[in-house]
């Protein structure tokens, strides 16, 4: 039995935008599953349908074997969701918000209070429990939404960009928290724009684009599909031009920085031997871009080209894709 099973899911909004065009997806129990895609790809619509916040046009969704058409209450009881946008009552306190949420799931108030203390504590919010939610920082509000989603101890936790706008330190502590949660048996589905986050946390991945699954595989298998890797080398002495080296594509970024693209069948020893032979001393080296990001961009480019050839995905999706492709690439950075 899958934690989540989606078959032939279609969503066409009233304005004619087809957000999902027949999505099939399975998420195993206990998995830590990444769902990636550019803005407007259909991720949030898919999550909206799974969490009953959006009506589907066609298709089937089941959660731990509970068909959402025939066994909705049991399916909903299995899910906890942390949405992309803040949806808190800002005039309530964190403790009230979490205790009330437990009440909506039928959990008696005494147990709800214990759980509120447990999860607000784990997310470092217990000392802010009696402050109005509007007084919390952005990162605190996100953590509050996670505590709220966990209070009924769901078997499937869906996080829609949970670390957006959260500083690096809190993001890392949230990763640790989510790892522990997953290790304790909770299936987690994560959408994120931080591809490093997906690569670091998730075992399986689906890339969604133009309302379709462009790729769905194990993370390690997907990463192996990338045949080349780019490195940024920082040099001790300035160079006037890039050294010519057969088998390697080397660019001079500035007089102290080289970018080298290395195919999987070449080794780095050979590269360093050649650089040493040319009298080039390397001080440090790092990956140019996140590997997952590289695959993501290739898949989205390919899928985008296909969609464009087929008439495109509608103005919103195409415009959104343009935004993602033009956006700076987070971790690893393009510039040294």
């Amino acid at each position: 039995m899958h934690a989540l099973s989606v078959r032939g899911l279609v969503k066409t909004y009233k304005n004619g935008v087809q957000a999902l065009r027949g999505v099939d997806l399975d998420v195993e129990q206990g998995d830590f599953f990444a769902m990636l895609g550019p803005n407007g790809a259909g991720k949030s619509t898919l999550i909206g349908i799974v969490t009953s916040l959006v009506n589907k046009t066609a298709g089937k969704v089941s959660v731990f074997g509970h068909d959402m058409d025939t066994d909705l209450e049991a399916a909903k009881a299995c899910i906890g969701v942390v949405p992309q946008e803040l949806n808190l009552n800002l005039f309530e306190t964190p403790e009230t918000i979490v205790v009330n949420q437990a009440g909506f799931y039928g959990i008696p108030r005494k147990i709800a209070r214990e759980r509120a203390e447990k999860y607000l504590g784990k997310l470092s919010l217990w000392d802010r429990r009696d402050k109005m939610a509007r007084s919390l920082s952005g990162g605190m509000k996100r953590r509050l939404m996670i505590a709220r989603a966990l209070v009924h101890e769901p078997r499937l936790l869906i996080l829609d960009e949970p670390t957006a706008g959260v500083d690096i330190e809190i993001r890392r502590s949230m990763w640790e928290f989510l790892r522990e949660l997953n290790a304790s048996g909770t299936t987690i589905i994560l959408t994120t724009h931080y591809l490093e986050e997906a690569e670091s946390l998730c075992r399986n991945i689906a890339i969604i684009d133009g309302g379709r699954i462009a790729e769905s595989d194990r993370m390690d298998r997907l990463l192996r599909k990338l045949h080349t890797e780019s490195f940024v080398l920082t040099l001790r002495n300035p160079l006037a031009r890039a050294p010519a080296s057969a088998g390697y594509d080397i660019d001079l970024v500035d007089e102290h920085t080289l970018e080298v693209e290395v195919s999987k069948d070449r080794n780095l020893n050979d590269l360093f031997a050649r650089l040493s032979a040319d009298g080039i001393e390397v001080l440090s080296m790092r990956n140019k871009v996140n590997r997952l990001e590289e695959i993501f961009m290739r898949l989205v480019d390919k899928s985008g080209a296909g969609a464009a050839a087929a008439g495109g995905n509608g103005p919103d999706a195409v415009a959104a894709r343009g935004v993602v492709q033009g956006a700076p690439h987070g971790h690893g950075g393009r510039h040294p």
Binding site: A74, P83, F104
Partner: protein, 275 residues
Amino acid sequence: MSVTAENAGAAGAAAPRHAVGHARWIGFRTIIVREYGRIIRIWGQTIVPSAVTATLYFVIFGSLIGRRVGQMGGFDYMQYIAPGLIMMSVITNSYANVVSSFFGAKFQRFLEEITVSPLPNWVIVSGYVGGGMVRGLLVGAVVTVVSLLFTHLQVHHWLAILAAVLLTSAVFALGGFINAVFAKNFDQVNWIPTFVLTPLTYFGGVFYSISLLPEWAQKLSVANPVLHMVNAFRYGFLGTSDVNVGLAFGIMALAAAALFAVAVGLMNRGIGMRD
């Protein structure tokens, strides 16, 4: 951290019927408690205005103008309008609570807290309507106390008073719920109270007996549901009514049932929320 699925809700397995019923009861109670907390938290907006308005009505229509009016339906004018003024506050507050609370939750998206939960839609509707009734009854009680400062209120039929106030607040709380489902902005939250509710209430026999009206106006007034509600309530206090009391209760019960079905139907279809 360690997370277990020890609660029935998370287990997602088929729970016994009584456990499901208990979980729904907790959910319903949670909505009511949250609504009550909201009413009390903003008491200056929810309770005080109706008490002030009622006091003004009693001073102006009761003491100043009422003295010249003399008797109405065999009672002092002040005594005659008191049940109507109480009912007017119940109507406006039951409606206002649900329309503003539900629309606010929809607008700020924290309604999703409830709609992602396993609570069935009929429980969600019942919870919000119950919250509206709580405010209607609270404010009604405050206005009753205010009215006792100005006049004497006799009780003819307790059951009629209770049934009329409960059914009326339920009907208008449901009306507020449906308004909130369709509303897309705060203007649309105010349209119905301003352009529909207020005229219906003022022409609903709060301040006068329809026997004072010409025959065509009396016939027109009978089509106004508020007239039946006010008169059923007044009957409970004074034992007098412009309409058939049995018919009035029938209309109220039918309206409550029909509006409840409409509200649940709208929620099931996700109108204004999931489309």
